[in-house]
């Protein structure tokens, strides 16, 4: 529809307002991260750093074990993503192709688990992992992350499996291939883009996760990046703004890059779920 001129102008104005609203906190974070300590003390802060430098980044690495934390986050997120996809794919295959009581229950669980208040799960998990001596350890956290990312992984993967033409599998079955054989040699290759998108999504979810990591990891050398970031905020809420901004900015970069790559696929998966459910 062609809108009139004033309407068009109004639309662009609204778009501009949205852009400003979306962008300004992030721009402010970047600006703060690159400001010199002297400038941060200025009572009239400016948008553009007058004397931009990397001091805040250096200081951030000195104040907190950022590298170790990033390493922990990387190990946790990578393992969780890989295990989640390996474990979820066969189940998603069954859920997409065969309707049974089991798969109905699984679908119900996927939906219901979206509504869990995690506090009801975290206390028992804490006790279980404690008995297994997996508190304050990355393997314990990884186990939790795998299960935690399974619902959405299943949700996405079921959509991808359904998108693979059934006829291809039937043809393989006629040729005498068993179910597993069919899955591995016919469906899996076609699923690859979906598998990668799901893995990347599980990776970001774990990389960004805070609550479980906060409860399950006690010693600083074991903690993940989001937990370490909160150490920059002092007990009284006072914070060294520069290093805080610098560290926060760094912690965001991996998810931003990955998300930019897979955003379209996640939307597709989310929408398929919303429409079908």
């Amino acid at each position: 529809m062609r809108a009139g001129r004033p309407a068009r102008a109004g639309q662009y104005l609204a778009l501009l307002a949205y852009l400003v609203f979306l962008a300004f906190p992030f721009l402010w974070l970047i600006s703060t991260a690159f400001k010199s300590p002297r400038e941060l003390g200025d009572l009239h802060p400016t948008w553009i750093p007058q004397d931009p430098g990397l001091d805040n980044f250096r200081q951030a690495f000195e104040e907190q074990p950022l590298l170790e934390a990033a390493g922990n986050s990387l190990i946790a997120a990578l393992s969780a993503a890989l295990i989640a996809v390996v474990v979820a794919t066969p189940m998603a295959f069954v859920m997409a192709r065969h309707r049974s009581r089991l798969t109905t229950a699984a679908t119900g669980w996927v939906v219901v688990s979206q509504a869990f208040p995690f506090v009801l799960v975290i206390i028992p998990l804490f006790l279980i992992l404690k008995n297994l001596h997996l508190i304050n350890s990355l393997p314990g956290l990884i186990m939790v992350y795998v299960v935690w990312s399974l619902p959405f992984a299943l949700w996405m993967l079921v959509g991808y499996v359904r998108a693979v033409p059934r006829e291809l599998e039937e043809a393989a079955a006629v040729d005498g291939a068993g179910r597993l054989r069919t899955l591995v040699s016919v469906t899996a290759p076609l699923l690859m883009p979906g598998l990668i998108a799901t893995a990347l999504f599980a990776f970001i979810t774990a990389w960004n996760e805070f609550f479980f990591a906060l409860v399950l990891l006690k010693s600083p050398e074991k903690q993940t990046l989001p937990v370490i970031l909160t150490h920059f905020i002092g007990a009284e809420g006072a914070a060294d703004l520069g290093p805080l901004a610098a560290a926060a900015f760094l912690a965001t970069l991996p998810s931003l890059v990955i998300f930019a790559i897979i955003q379209k696929r996640i939307t597709g998966g989310m929408l398929a779920g919303a429409v079908k459910s």
Binding site: T104, N208, F211
Partner: protein, 311 residues
């Protein structure tokens, strides 16, 4: 949601492509078990364990054995004004975030569905809040709200709108300030979902309606909204639940302060469990939260099924 699935299953017709209610055979179990075992051990199990804990006096670091106390925790909860305060704040926060977020996202989605220049920029920017760790979103807004070095107060000063204030620690401003962050953080996800829904609505209907002389509002009411409604309702219900259960964002922004004005139920339960070690009591809170959400979901589902029958 699940109802639709089980319904389709019970209606077993001859010649149906997917016969329902079939017993899983060995091959199925083989494929399902790798996911099922972790789910049972680390998700369903803890959930049931958690419900059981709500009926005990379980505490952390105590040497005396845990005892069953029946419904004592729930009776205590009933009289715990702090809990009901947090519950009320949780509802305020969930409504305060979900509703404006939906309206803004709907506006933005309609806007981005138009043939505007620079709309790619809005889409590109939408990734930022969506992909950011919640902890970073909280930190970022602390920088914005900072009373001395923050951009918000400086902008207000420049515009002559007063000296500004300490938004996150003011009794009156803390909850609205936190709600604004919640809106900001979830808006892109909602927008993108609605936009995808808009792009699924048939274009021809729009053109036909426009030819019939329907104005923009009429076209929205008659064509766009009916097509968008199922997605809009699902997204809103999920957003509401997620917001009610949220933790990290507010933990980083205010830790529930000032004076408990932003203490969401999850923050309260977290404090009870992991600061004061009251596992049983906190589990009871979790049960009450689950019950509340289930009631809301049931009401929502009932409404949706009815809405579906109207068609």
């Amino acid at each position: 949601m699940t109802l639709a699935t089980s319904k389709g299953q019970s209606a077993k017709k001859p010649g149906q492509r997917e016969p329902g209610g079939r017993k899983p055979d060995f091959g199925t179990w083989f494929l399902v078990l790798p996911a099922l075992i972790p789910i049972l051990i680390l998700s369903v199990g803890p959930l049931l364990y958690g419900i059981a804990l709500a009926f005990t006096d379980s505490q952390s670091g105590r040497t005396a054995p845990t005892q069953w106390t029946g419904t004592l925790n729930f009776a205590d909860l009933l009289h715990d004004t702090l809990f009901w305060d947090s519950f009320r704040i949780g509802l305020l926060w969930a409504v305060g975030v979900t509703v404006p977020q939906f309206l803004l996202a709907l506006g933005l989605a309609l806007l981005l569905n138009q043939n505007l220049r620079f709309r790619w920029l809005a889409r590109a920017l939408a990734i930022v809040p969506w992909a950011m760790p919640e902890v970073v979103v909280g930190i970022m807004w602390r920088l914005v709200y900072n009373p001395d070095a923050g951009i918000l107060n400086e902008t207000l000063r420049t515009l002559g709108l007063g000296e500004g204030r300490d938004w996150l620690t003011g009794l009156a401003t803390a909850l609205p300030a936190v709600i604004l962050v919640g809106i900001w953080a979830g808006m892109p996800q909602t927008t993108v979902a609605l936009l995808a829904g808009l792009q699924n609505t048939p274009h021809e209907l729009h053109e036909a309606a426009a030819l019939d002389g329907a104005g923009a509002w009429r076209r929205f009411r008659a064509v766009t909204w009916p097509a968008l409604k199922p997605i809009a309702l699902s997204i809103t219900a999920l957003n509401f639940i997620w917001n009610f259960n949220s933790f990290a964002l507010v933990y980083v922004l205010t830790s529930g302060g000032p004076g408990g004005r932003t203490r969401l139920p999850m923050l309260f339960a977290y404090e009870q469990a992991f600061r004061y070690g009251q596992f049983g009591y906190a589990a009871a809170m979790g049960c009450v939260m689950v019950a509340a959400i289930s009631v809301l979901l049931a009401v929502f589902l009932a409404g949706r099924l009815k809405g579906g029958a109207d068609k």
